[in-house]
Symmetry: C2
Subunit: 310 residues, 2 copies
Amino acid sequence: MLPVLVVHGGAGHVPEEYQQSVLAGVRAAVREGYAILQGQGSAMDAVVAAVTLLENNPSFNAGLGSVLNAKGDVEMDAIVMDGRDLTSGAVSAVKRLANPVQLARLVMDKTIHLCLTGEGANQFAREMGVPEVPEESLITDYSRMRWKKNLAPDANLVESLMGKMGTVGAVAVDAMGNIACATSTGGLPNKMEGRVGDTACIGCGGYADNKVGAASPTGHGEAIMKVVLARLILFHMEQGCSTEVAADKALAYMKERVGGVGGVVVVDPQGGWSARFSSRQMVWAAGQQNTLHFGLHAGEHFTQSTDDPN
Amino acid sequence: MLPVLVVHGGAGHVPEEYQQSVLAGVRAAVREGYAILQGQGSAMDAVVAAVTLLENNPSFNAGLGSVLNAKGDVEMDAIVMDGRDLTSGAVSAVKRLANPVQLARLVMDKTIHLCLTGEGANQFAREMGVPEVPEESLITDYSRMRWKKNLAPDANLVESLMGKMGTVGAVAVDAMGNIACATSTGGLPNKMEGRVGDTACIGCGGYADNKVGAASPTGHGEAIMKVVLARLILFHMEQGCSTEVAADKALAYMKERVGGVGGVVVVDPQGGWSARFSSRQMVWAAGQQNTLHFGLHAGEHFTQSTDDPN
């Protein structure tokens, strides 16, 4: 059943005119990451490659296409975690970077810390030779339109978040049985300057442990944080739940206890996997045994060969 | 058995000449917070008051007396969490504030977010009318001396952290049975600019749930993050463990799995409490049934009346 890779492109509700592009986006991300796994690459390399591709795709709220904060700026959060030794790297509120997930990986690989924030994270990027990109190069017309709309005094930011695909993430188990996760986001539309969501918080926006599995969530960040969603799912798996039951239990708890909806992709060490959500939709795709699985609406599960280029 | 308040002033090793002052500091913090609980005040008010007093005390690594980062600046993290509805507020890498824990509470009370970082957090402080203090007013001669010493190329920052009391925190259950926690820190000595530790991450540097209890950790932040320590302790309590067994299991796991040491104060809804640590020492104090408990070395447990002014 190994290797396996599962990605998501955010929980919420995708307007019909964007559905084909987000489905194409997650399929492309799985093909990219799954090819690495098939070539005996590591789970970490696979999740970072898949998330990088989604960050570069303007259809998702991460990297290019990120939502704008209240000031009209892009501030992004990202995390990676290595299930071998529970080490992790994260960045929060970083600006002017095309691929925050790659900086999160550098935090993990090149520092003694697990998280760098704001200007300190950007300073570290410069030290690592990561090029800064112009702010404008990350902003799409769609992001700017939503930002303006959300400036209205009666705008509901959480509802707005659920009105377009969001956060991107990936979980994988490689042929060696090593497990990793990665998550990246532009956060909540029109958020306050400096707002940090679940994605930069280990256990909330991602968790990976070779002994248990990995989870990458998406949805209302503040609700995900209150229940420490990724770690909660892995606790259920430690108690014997399958990836699907663990995800459904944790999502139901989040809805009942704090009124939050979202979704998650999950893997276990044997290659079991799930893509589950309590939101109206979550765009997801998975690669396993040369088959590409994908879906968007609840209950949807399409398959094609991973060799199919579309 | 209610109300109860337990505070810590950091895990590590206190040089003998500082032992009396840190013990006096945590006793004073408990007297301050416990009086609030005795007057029918809330657990949240009690933990914030206790942590505020510890931030104002130069003997601890939080607020005044915080360690300096690599650049010689003070950057602080803090969190509060309300066990009634799992809401929380946190700040990371904030500068020039006397009481980060109070800003964390404002994030919880006055925004739709759970965490603000860096300049955005300071901007929010200005909007709330929180006065900025001169950077120099937070720095002690001792902090500057350690910073200079740690600039040596062979300095071990984690060992340095363990060489002085650190992070401060508190957990409480009030007479109504409501549970809260608060944690505040200057972080790791000579940390990189923008480094965020466990304290600002919900589930890592603190967690509170009226149905289970609360925990406030201290120690090597990166290790605490890898195991999401506070939430882990509450999971063990959900499985039926006492506060003491849950804390010891989680600390032993942190040592074995990621090689980290630290300590924690824990309460349960019935007023059970523990102060446990895997470090050489942790200064702690607790107030319950008009008795003030305190200790520093392993196995130490002194008591006096909460009316005793010293």
